[in-house]
Each structure stands twice: as C-alpha cells, then as structure tokens.
C-alpha cells in the first residue's frame, strides 16, 4: 500500500517529464515538415527566408513540364501497381490460408516475405539485372510498375493474411451449406469479411509506390522518372522553393492515404476486439434476452 502511495505521489513529475519528452519527439518529427509547408507559401527566392505569402511556387510547379510528367508517371505507376499487387497479394494470402498441405507451401510462405526483409538496394539491383539481362521489358514505366508490383504483393499479402487469420473457417462452410457455389461464397461472404484488410493493403501499396525512390531510380528509363525520384534529382542540382511546394503536395497526399489506411486498420482492429470480448459480454446479454422472453 505504501508503495502505491509513493507511486501515486511520484506520478505528476513522471507525467510532466513524459509530456515534455513527448513534445520534443513531436517537434523533432514535425517541425521540419512544418517549415517546408510554411516556406512553400513564401514569396522569397531563397528557400529559407520568408518573403510574404505567395502561391508563385505552386504556379511554377504547375508550369514545370518535367515535374508534371514525373507526377503523371507516379500516379499511373502507383495506380496500376496497386491494383495488380492487391489482386495478386490477396490471392496469395487466400491460397496460403486455405491450402495448408501442398508441397512447397513453406518455401512460398518464406519467399513471400523476402521483398520486405531484404534491403531496397539489393532488390533494386536484382530487378535491374533481371530487366537488362532478359530484355523482355524495356526500362521505363513498365519496368517501374513491375518492380512496384513485386514488392507490393508481399505487403498486401501480409495485411490480408492477418485479416484472414481472424475469420472463422466455418463461414465458408456455412455459405456452401446455404447453396452458394465457390465463387458466390467468395464474393458474398469471404471478400466482404476480408475487405478492410484488402483495402488497407491496397492503401499501403499505394503509399509505398508513391514514396519509392531507391528501386525506382534503378529501374527507370529515360522520361519515366517518378515524382520522388525527380525531386531527389532536382535537389542535387539546385535548391529552389518549388521543392517546398512539391513536398507539401506529397505530404498532403501521403497524409490522406495514411489516414485512410489507419481508419481501415482501426475498423479491422475494433472488429477483432469485439469478437474477443464476446464471452465476457455474453452473460448480461443473455440475462437481457431472458428478461425479454419473460415479458412476452
């Protein structure tokens, strides 16, 4: 008991220092972003000096054809690779979850995680060597898209598998028992149940694709640069406030995507949680049910 009192007495101090520490972490993480965002609206030619509110850098950004081309590449690559990776990743997750007895399942399972574990640069070199040695796909938008699909499949598969692990296998049995054929069972029962995972995985894939610099810069071809790679190149040559405007735009898009992804993941988490809670909640619910029955 005494110890508890000591603990309680010591807590305000701990709380205060934790709060200070927390704010420092936040400042460390977000001040640079804040600086970039603020100076993107500055009229000054210098990156670091305030020159009054102005949208001239955004204007210049929209006039820069190379930049717009890179943006277009980014969006196309991100959309295509996300759609393909989501379909393939979901299929991989489903097959790993369902068919547990085929030869090579273990190997496939392990290999699926490889793109997440190995360093980006290794993956980039491997992909570049593969593209150049086979020569089937010329370096360009196509090769970038394929590279993004390659690493995104793993991320989608992991997110979808986590969702599948919480699904009662009897759900599909029940659908089959209620006259659904395999496609109907998937379409009406399995897919809706794993949808939060599929969408979460897709958003993750989209974000990763939009952000990727290392792998893209290895496998890109002339004129196929994506936005992050273009910005990286730009910053090495000259530092102009246009970069602030571009960065702000990218931050905004990323934040929207991350927030959407978090919301979906959260919904997933809440569902799982409520499932776990059920045995504890059951008792009062039954009493309620019984009292309702008694009233009838």
């Amino acid at each position: 008991m005494t110890r508890l009192h000591h603990g309680a007495a010591a807590r305000p101090g701990v709380d205060r220092s934790l709060a200070i520490f927390g704010s420092l972490v936040f400042a460390f993480l977000y001040l640079p972003i804040l600086v970039v965002v603020v100076f993107s609206f500055s009229g000054s030619e210098s990156v670091g000096r305030w020159g009054g509110f102005s949208l001239r850098w955004y204007e210049q950004m929209l006039k820069n054809e190379q930049l717009l081309n890179a943006l277009e590449n980014s969006v196309v690559v991100a959309l295509v690779s996300t759609v393909v990776a989501t379909v393939l990743g979901t299929a991989a997750a489903l097959s790993l979850d369902r068919y547990r007895r085929w030869v090579g399942r273990g190997a496939f399972d392990g290999l699926l995680y490889l793109p997440i574990i190995i360093p980006d640069v290794t993956m980039a070199v491997m992909l570049l060597l593969w593209f150049t040695s086979t020569g089937v796909i010329p370096l360009g938008r196509g090769s970038i898209t394929l590279a993004h699909i390659a690493f995104n499949i793993s991320f989608v598969a992991i997110v979808v598998r986590a969702r599948l692990a919480h699904m009662d296998p009897a759900m599909e049995d029940a659908a089959a028992d209620l006259y659904a054929n395999r496609w109907q069972a998937f379409r009406r029962v399995t897919l809706p149940l794993i949808m939060p995972g599929v969408l979460g995985g897709a958003l993750l894939a989209l974000t990763l694709s939009l952000d990727d610099v290392v792998i893209t810069s290895f496998v890109q071809g002339p004129g196929s640069t994506t936005l992050p790679v273009y910005v990286f190149g730009l910053i090495r040559r000259t530092v102009t406030p246009v970069i602030n405007a571009v960065s702000t735009l990218m931050i905004a898009v990323s934040m929207v995507l991350v927030l959407a992804s978090l919301t979906l993941q959260n919904r997933t988490g809440r569902r799982t949680e409520s499932k776990g809670d059920r045995p504890m909640k059951r008792k009062p619910l039954i009493e309620k049910a019984e009292s309702r029955e008694n009233q009838q």
């Binding site: 009897a170 759900m171 049995d173 089959a176 028992d177 039954i286």
Partner: protein, 359 residues
C-alpha cells in the same frame, strides 16, 4: 427399415485424414424420416466428421452416403438437400438477421417477395420477431443460435444437421433451448441429426441415439436402450453414471463378485466368463446393516467410505470388498436417513438393475 425410406443412410463410411488418422471407421447407419437422431460421443470420436460427411463438407475416403435413397457421391454441399447449424453458428457478421436467414433462398434464386415471406415465417418460428434488422454482433448467444436455426430451416431441408448447437450456451438457456428444439422439430416434421457430447442432452431429446467411440458406432438405440441396456463397457461408462464391478458368471442369471458374494443379474454369456457387472448408482438402496433386506433382491454388505453432496442428491461410496467400492445415489428428500463415514450398511438392488457385460 428399408434403404428406400431412410432419410440418411451411411454404408461402410470411412474417413481418413492423412495416412494414420482414421476419423470415421466403417460406419453403417440408417436414420429414419422424421427422426430426431443424436450422434453422441466424447470429443475426437468422429461424430462431427460424420455430420460433415452427410453435409458434403467432407467426402468419405470409402463407403457411400445416401439421402432419401439418392447417392451423394462427391456432390458438393450446395447441391445437397440438407442444411447445417454450425457449432460456432457461423452467422455472417456483415449481414443483418434477415439477410442471414434469407441467404440460402437468395442463392437458390427464389424471388424477392417469396424470400421476404419465408424469412418472416422462419424468424417467427424461432421467436426472433422484431430483431430482423439487428446485426449478429448485437445478439445474445441464445439469439444467435436461433438465427442459425432459422437460417437453416428456412430452406426447408430434407434433413437438418446440428453440430453441438447448444454447446456455447449456459446451462439454464441450454435446457430451455433443448425443449424448444424438440418442439420445432415436431412442428416442421423433418429429420434432425444432432451431434453432441452431452449425454443428458442426447437422452432427453432423441428418438434414437448413436453412441460413437474412436470413429465407430458403439451402440445405436433408443435413449432407454442405451441407458438401460448398454451393449459394451464404453456405452456403460459414457452414458450416465455407472458402477463397474469385476465378476464371473457362475450360472445363467448369477454372477460371483471379487469378494465372493454371489448375486443375480442380467447375463447372456456362458458360465465361467469373466464379466463386468454394471449397476446405476440411483438404482441402489442403502439400509442399516442390522436390518433385513427385502426378499428376492440382491444384497451386499459394506461400509460407507465417502459421502458427496450434490444438492438434489447425495452420493455414498461404499466399500463392499477389499478391492471394490460401489456408489449409491440417494435423493435428497426430508425423510432420508443420512449416513456417516464408517457406518456398516447393506446395499440392496433388484436383479434387473444389474447387468453383466462381457469384454
């Protein structure tokens, strides 16, 4: 009892998982039309696998399954005239009660107004009227169970399969639901195949029971058959409580216990066969050692070594010989005489209450 009239007929059905695991071992079984049939057994005895084989969720490694005379072969579950109530209920969490119940009809492309009418009827049948728009998450265990029942019954299956449907409910609710299930079966008049590990449940609800052990059917019969005349030690030990005493048959209808006492019992084996004498604790009476046992009954002397209080009854453990004890269940009524440990007593029972099982 011809094959043609059987609702479900299993012929030499065996199910192996991998090479070593035999879940169901050469089962022959006929379930009659309109019957409430229970498959009773401990976990891992193959009862659920047998049910899944009938449903088409598993296919037998050997043997054949017929439903109303029709060979099922490798027909998938969605093409069989049966529906299942799953142990976990397996309600679709993304659909409300009405959509869950209507799922099967929609898959069968029944038209909308018909679906609505039949869903309404099924929901009335299981007394869930007013909860149509609820999500399964918002229902109690008992209500979820009823939704699962309605979802299966609405399709008017020829056979309803139930896999421990009451397992997750608490005792009170389970008892209510047992009676309700029985009523619903009378009302809809279809064949129920009910899987349970709860012998009390099987005894109260079933027309016939198939007791399963290690993938085989140990005995098939009415509740009374199974309880009063178990055909083997497994059934004797699994269904209800049973005192088991080693004995030897000395002449037809008479056995000798380990301690040398000779008593009368139901026997069918030849003289000299070692048997196990079985007798139900509630069919025994205790008297004080000084009193005279009624004539024509079996009497065994012993002393009380333990008493256990169960509320509605008391169980006394009585040492009748150096190696054997016997349990006596006594109803807890006001006039009953209480015994204490060490009391010398006489246990008495009717010869019909004791049955010798060869094994």
């Amino acid at each position: 009892m011809t094959e043609r009239t059987s609702a479900v007929s299993l012929h030499s059905v065996t199910k192996r998982f991998g090479e070593d695991v035999v879940a169901v071992d050469d089962i022959d079984l006929q379930i009659q039309d309109g019957e409430f049939f229970s498959l009773l057994g401990p976990s891992g005895c193959g009862k659920t696998t047998t049910l899944r084989i009938i449903a088409g969720l598993e296919f037998p490694t050997e043997g054949s399954v017929r439903i109303f005379g029709e060979e099922m072969g490798l027909r998938p579950p969605n093409k069989r005239p049966v529906n299942t109530v799953f142990q976990s209920y397996a309600l679709f969490p993304h659909m409300n009660v009405a959509d869950n119940v209507g799922f099967g009809l929609r898959m069968k492309k029944v038209d909308d107004s018909e679906v609505r009418r039949r869903v309404g009827e099924a929901i009335d049948l299981v007394r869930l009227t007013g909860l149509e728009k609820r999500s399964p998450k918002e229902l109690s265990g008992g209500e979820q169970q009823r939704v699962a029942l309605a979802r299966a019954l609405v399709n008017q299956p020829k056979v309803l399969l139930l896999d421990e449907p009451l397992g997750a409910l608490d005792l009170k609710l389970r008892q209510t639901m047992q009676l309700e299930l029985k009523d619903i079966q009378h009302e809809v008049g279809i064949t129920f195949v009910y899987v349970t590990h709860d012998q009390g449940e099987a005894l109260t609800m079933s027309d016939r029971i198939g007791v399963m052990s290690e993938g085989r059917l140990a005995q098939v019969g009415s509740a009374e058959d199974v309880y009063e005349s178990p055909q083997n030690l497994f059934v004797a030990g699994f269904v209800g409580e049973m005192c088991l005493l080693p004995a030897v048959i000395v002449e037809p209808g008479t056995v000798r216990l380990n301690g040398g006492e000779v008593i009368r019992a139901r026997t069918s084996a030849p003289n000299g066969t070692p048997v196990t004498l079985t007798v139900r604790p509630e069919k025994l009476h205790i008297y004080s050692a000084t009193s005279e046992a009624p004539p024509g009954r079996n009497a065994l002397k012993g002393s009380i070594v333990r008493q256990t209080f169960f509320g509605e009854s008391l169980v006394y453990e009585v040492q009748i010989s150096r190696s054997d004890t016997i349990e006596v269940r006594v109803e807890n009524i006001p006039s009953i005489r209480r015994w204490s440990v060490g009391d010398q007593v006489i246990i008495d029972f009717h010869p019909e209450a004791a049955m010798a099982i060869t094994e």
